[in-house]
């Protein structure tokens, strides 16, 4: 297992260098001079332009700029945002817990509902429940997040007033963001009502962000289960008189999980993409909106630093998925 892990970790190195290069190049390939964009209609004198160009180091050769960036990254310095003048690293870690909290909740929501739904649909193949479920999943998958979010807000926050419209917690609660995870901080604050307020604020964004992964997981679980259910050993297990529940849960589901876990791993990328819209609508202070704003402002350090950190995260998730494969299916780690 250790050897397997080490070989997986080794592939990290070239990927990391590649991602650093791409994140550096990506924002520079986009047309648009950050200094001119910053000045806007107002414009700026040539002297001032030259001064700022030197200040930001844009007058240096591209290779030298990349070298500075790379050595900075290796020393844990991602640079300073052009806009807020704060270190990218600090900004990322202020905002990231919010994204992580929301993504985790969305993922748990998607798995808790998607997995059983897929299993039930597979077991009841062709029946009404299967058809209803799969059409709902298709709708969920094709739903524009923006529209879906506004619809939920109008119904549940506007008409029914069950949930708050947006934000992370009621404004009457004010305590330090020790960890940045609102649920945790709310509990730690000891203020009565804080936890329930934080949870209520999480409901709609969780549903919105979790909808697409939920649909994907349900569909993937169903087809993986169907494939496994047709295998000989399942028929054997049934023939031996094992209860259908045991056959489905132990023999079929475990073997069907590999593709499902792959899909869950890949959904992390989707989650981050979805987080951009979800965060904007629900005024959720996470990294999605931060990245988008920075791209429009051509805030190079934030875009390249943010991309790098997100890529590293996706790599870590993929590594975890690989390790999970190994645990679920011992044959994989021996290969």
């Amino acid at each position: 297992m250790l050897k397997y892990l080490a070989s997986r970790l080794l592939t990290f190195v070239p990927t990391f260098i590649g991602v650093t290069l791409i994140s550096f190049a990506f924002i520079r390939v986009l047309p648009g001079d950050p200094i001119i964009v910053m000045a806007g209609e107002r414009g700026m004198s040539e002297e001032r332009y030259a001064e700022l160009t030197t200040q930001y180091g844009f007058d240096r050769p591209m290779l030298a700029q990349f070298w500075d960036y790379l050595t900075g990254v290796l020393q844990g310095d991602l640079g300073t945002s052009f806009v807020t003048k704060k270190p990218v690293w600090d900004e990322f870690f202020t905002l990231f817990p919010a994204t992580l909290e929301l993504s985790l909740c969305a993922m748990i929501f998607a798995i808790l509902i998607g997995l059983p739904a897929g299993v039930i649909a597979a077991v009841n193949r062709g029946k009404f429940f299967d058809r209803a479920l799969m059409s709902t999943a298709l709708v969920g998958y094709s739903m524009p997040i923006f529209w879906w979010a506004l619809l939920l807000i109008i119904v549940f926050s506007g008409n029914l007033q069950w949930t708050p419209v947006s934000g992370r917690i009621g404004l009457q609660y004010y305590f330090p963001n020790a960890t940045g995870f609102m649920i945790w901080d709310a509990i730690a604050s000891g203020q009565s009502g804080a936890l329930s307020s934080a949870v209520r604020h999480l409901i709609l964004p969780t549903i919105v962000l979790g909808t697409i992964p939920l649909a994907v997981i349900a569909r993937q679980t169903r087809s993986a289960m169907l494939e496994v259910l047709g295998e000989d050993y399942i028929r054997t297990a049934r023939a031996k008189g094992m209860s259908p529940r045991r056959v489905n849960a132990i023999h079929a589901l475990r073997n069907a999980l590999i593709p499902v876990i792959t899909v869950i791993g890949l959904s992390v990328g989707t989650l981050l993409a979805g987080a951009i819209l979800t965060e904007t609508i629900f005024s959720w202070p996470g990294i999605g909106k931060w990245m988008v704003d920075s791209i429009f402002r051509r805030d190079y350090p934030v875009v390249q630093g943010g991309l790098l950190l997100i890529a590293v995260m996706v790599m870590v998730v993929n590594l975890t998925v690989d390790v999970l494969y190994g645990i679920i299916n011992p044959k994989i780690r021996k290969r």
Binding site: I153, S166, L171, Q172, P176, T280, F282, S283
Partner: protein, 530 residues
């Protein structure tokens, strides 16, 4: 952000009730996050709303709701006969805020004024490079070459020596970048090795003091009970940062905030018929225009430009492009600005006459490129659509239009070329409410090859605006600007298209809100009734 149990007690006391806020705390759904809290470092209105407006004061300030300049931290000021010396007499007994790291030991005085400007203009000032200091507005308003020196006469008298007489100087001093910061706080933070705190934990003299900021989520202010002016009506001011306009509206409806800015134009009609909210409106301090290149034939002929202007159906543009959130512009300055000449008549929409006029000038088979901006602006929410409408309008008088566009940075650069091919859609949002900020910047001879996109240098016009710059009497200046607007209309270097209309949406219990024509949002005079 450092946490104090005292703060907790204070905030708990003014806690909001479950859904709606209590009478003590005003919640404003703002559209975005401030870049920081030291206004001089930044240029965006969103940042100013959260920094210079609640936290700081300036020597002189705009009277909210107008573009008139009034004394503030300076009780009075006088300008010398030659216009080269401006003396400010400072208000005594003005207290700075305090926070966890700092308690002021003295009142506001001349040292604070000198420090606030010196750090922006003097590269040797230790604060000049702090927080990546680029002091954009200080340079954009030409302060480096305008201010020769600043002298402290005594603790409560400061003299600005200028290199030339410049009437708009007083309006510049009321701008956000001229906010007065505490020198004592700056020194203390420099000594503590944390100079960036000046930007992150601001200390000012304003009606509200800064309490806490959770990035991209919430900004909290509390009332400054020692304020030198009229104390704020609410005990606490909270900005709930809500980037999506429809969600802001939902939050106002649900009582999660009291006031919101920038509604979706498409929502305005629904809001106006919604009994649960009130909508205020005013023209924005901006103008959207189509600038011909007056250097290139046949657009060097004012009659040709005039004919083209007469072919544009502006009402259709207001309806389609602005969806009602705009107003037809006839002058290059907005109607909320002093010296706006309402007597000027706009070119009438008359394609037949336009066609005849072109023929009279011997212009046939005309091809024109129209440049469409790739970005949305209040003065032009959809430049591509606007260009298409103009294309159709011009086709009617036999002018063939090709629409071109570039990436925003490129667009701004290329449109400056003096031999540029085509007419450019662009606009301007005023900085300081002074007509000079529109007329000289956008249409003066100095701006050719730069911000004067029409490349229009017309002596009778330029003489007027240059003269107006050197006179300090506002009525005399206004007369010159009014005349300049008449010349502008005759010469037609632009087709003036529209001014945006600014809407503010609020709950009925909100009292005393006034729309600021300069685009800021002020809450010190706003109260909540039950």
């Amino acid at each position: 952000m450092k946490f104090k149990t005292t703060l907790l007690g204070m905030t708990a006391a003014m806690a909001l009730s479950a859904g709606a806020a209590s009478a003590q705390a005003l919640v404003y759904c703002s559209e975005g996050s401030p870049e920081g809290f030291d206004a001089a470092l930044y240029t965006s209105g969103t940042t100013f709303d959260a920094s210079s407006k609640p936290i700081y004061n300036r020597l002189v300030e705009f009277e909210v709701g107008t573009t008139e300049v009034n004394p503030a931290l300076a009780e009075s000021f006088e300008v010398s006969e030659d216009g080269l010396t401006v003396t400010f007499h400072l208000r005594e007994g003005v207290k700075f805020h305090s926070n966890d790291q700092f308690t002021p030991t003295r009142d506001f005085n001349a040292d604070d004024v000198i420090f606030s400007f010196d750090r922006q203009g003097n590269p040797d000032n230790p604060y000049n490079g702090v927080s990546g200091g680029s002091w954009e507005y200080y340079s954009a308003m030409s302060m480096p070459d305008l201010i020769e020196s600043i002298e402290k006469v005594d603790d409560y008298t400061v003299v600005f020596n200028l290199t030339r007489p410049e009437a708009p100087f007083m309006a510049n001093m009321a701008m956000d970048f001229a906010s007065i910061v505490s020198k004592e706080y700056a020194d203390a933070m420099m000594e503590a090795g944390t100079p960036e705190m000046l930007n992150q934990a601001p200390i000012g003299t304003g009606p509200f003091s800064f309490q806490a900021y959770q990035k991209d989520a919430v900004i909290r202010f509390v009332r400054n009970d020692d304020y030198w002016g009229d104390a704020a009506k609410v005990e606490a001011l909270i900005f709930a940062i809500t980037p999506d306009a429809s969600v802001r509206y939902q939050k106002v409806q649900a009582g999660e905030c009291h006031v919101m800015a920038y509604p979706n134009p498409a929502d305005v009609e629904a809001m106006q018929s919604d009994e649960g909210v009130e909508v205020m409106q005013q023209e924005g301090l901006n103008v959207g225009y189509l600038a011909y290149n007056t250097n290139v034939a046949p657009y060097d002929n004012p009659n040709v430009r005039k004919a083209l202007n007469m072919a544009i159906d502006k009402q259709a543009i207001i309806d389609v492009v602005f969806q009602g959130s705009g107003q037809i512009a006839k002058n290059p300055i907005p109607p909320t600005m002093w010296s706006y000449n309402d007597a000027v008549e706009d070119d009438s929409y008359d394609p037949e006459a336009a066609k005849a006029m072109l023929e009279e000038e011997g212009v046939t088979d005309l091809d024109l490129k129209i440049w469409a901006m790739p970005v949305q602006r209040p003065y032009n929410p959809n430049a591509r659509r606007m260009a298409e409408l103009m294309q159709a309008d011009f086709a009617e008088i036999g002018v063939d239009v090709e629409i071109v566009s570039y990436e925003w940075g490129e667009y701004l650069e290329r449109s400056k070329d003096t031999d540029r091919d085509g007419a450019v859609l662009l606009g301007w949002t005023g900085d300081n409410g002074d007509p000079d900020n529109f007329l000289a910047v956008l249409l003066g001879c100095d701006g050719v090859g730069g911000s004067n996109r029409a490349q229009w240098c017309y002596e009778p016009f330029d003489d007027l605006i240059q003269e107006a710059k050197t006179i300090s009497d506002q009525d005399e200046r206004a007369a010159l600007y009014e005349e300049a607007q008449v010349i502008f209309k005759e010469q037609a270097p632009w087709a003036t298209i529209a001014h945006s209309v600014v809407y503010m949406t609020m709950r009925p219990e909100v009292d005393g809100y006034v729309i600021d024509p300069l685009g800021g949002h002020f809450f010190n005079a706003v109260g909540l009734s039950n």
